[in-house]
Amino acid sequence: MSIDLMNAFIAPLVIMVSISLILGLVLVIASRFLAEYGPCRISIKGNKDVEVIGGETLLSSLFENKIFIPSACGGRGSCGYCKLKVTSGGGSVLPTELPYLTPSEVVDDVRLACQLKVKSDMEIEVPEEYLSIQEYRAEVAQSISLTYDMKELRFRLLEPETINFKPGQYIQFHVPSTNREVVYRAYSIASLPSMAGELELIVRLVPGGIGSTYIHNLSVGDEVTISGSCGDFFLHERSSCDILLIGGGAGMAPLKSILYSLFEKGSDRKIDLFFGVRAKKDLFYLEEFERLAKEHPNFTYTYALSSPGEADDWKGEKGFIHLVLERHLKEGEKREAYLCGPPLMADAVIKVLKEKGVDPSNIYYDKF
């Protein structure tokens, strides 16, 4: 009986352990001989060469050498931001890149850096503005909860001490991870360029999210690494056209930066802010905007709740933000629109704007 019992426990244990061991061993050996490609040289046109160990993606290889390519999706191949021209050593385009490349880009050797692996020497072209993206060390100076899942964080830059950016742009947050690859996530800057030694972010907690959980758990004094600034979504300061700021979800940060820098410059452009959230518990910055609207006659703001709770007692606008916008916006007004929010919201808003006669070249957006 006792021997049977022993067998009943030991046989499966031994079999499981030995199978796992053998598989693990085979995998280690295979990856040593199959997945490593030895040292490779990446030549950046008009700039330096970098030496990397082949086998990783081009994006993370460049990242390790402090060359920061915008990559909003963190290398999952779902944002299409990490496009680079690869003139030699890239092989042919992968099916996972195709959805983000136009036919003319394919002809032009444009590739997604996060999908392409470095397996041989390469020649690439990196746009000037990417090379000016720097890495910063910063320290958490303040962290405030705006709602149950939104936090406003203020960072003091340590090294270098100032950052250059345009209102609306974003930085990449480096999230420490256990394995070799860096995890990075994009967060828009909410503060003003004039406070160059500080950065403010507004971050929504995505349940189970790697980046947002890390940021929400930071406390004052913690040190972090970021790189920036990136993005072609920013305020066009030369124009004098009246402005629409439209956002939803986590999209407040860039709009705040744009709004405050307009006030700072004493601009008399008319500014209307539309912001959509789900319910009353998601609202923030109400008092602040109320105060701003009193101080600045050229500013109005409208919040809309898409699904207010029973107990919410909300007198303001209800419904999706694009429908609210449709009701408020007059046909044929000349406007410059900046919008920021989830892709579905952005698409719906863009459609409404076009229908109301806003010139498509005056619509700027960031979807996330």
Binding site: P12, I15, L23, L34
Partner: protein, 193 residues
Amino acid sequence: MDLLTILIAAVFTHNIALTYFLGMCPFVAVSGNLRTAMGMSMAVTFVMSLAAAVTWPIYHKLLVPYDVTYLQYVVFILVIAALVQIVEMMVERTSPFLYNTMGVFLPLITVNCAILGVTLFMVVRDYSYIESLIYSFGSGIGWGVAILAMAAIRERLRFADLPEGLKGAGITMIIAGLMAMSFMGFAGILNVH
């Protein structure tokens, strides 16, 4: 049961996608475009055959003698996952062409239920080694036939005026249901269990 019967059964009458509704996630996700569907079906056929070829000896020569067949789920999943990873590295290293056409899909299907399903059916139906190979290869082809048909339909559907909410996954599920019903027509050809 002769081998031809097993093959035909696996492709048509007992189609792994349309009679057992296994492997639905890639079926819905990559059936939008004929070229990617082609790559995917090649990858699935390849991995299924390989999985059966490797798990059969492990089951019959290791798990059965030691009377631990209940370990089959864990062991099969482990073995298949490791195997696919190695094959992916090999393909990537040796053949850029193959890697481009099907290699990139390999990681997507390592832990796919259709693959595990085939290896488990192989055990349940008590197939011999040769029968298992034929069966798994046929199942792969059958899955491929189903997804290619779906991709062809969806490419045409692009011009159809669908209600907003049905676009994408919604209409794909409905079509899969209709296709499954038409595949039931094959059931009369032969009968295996």
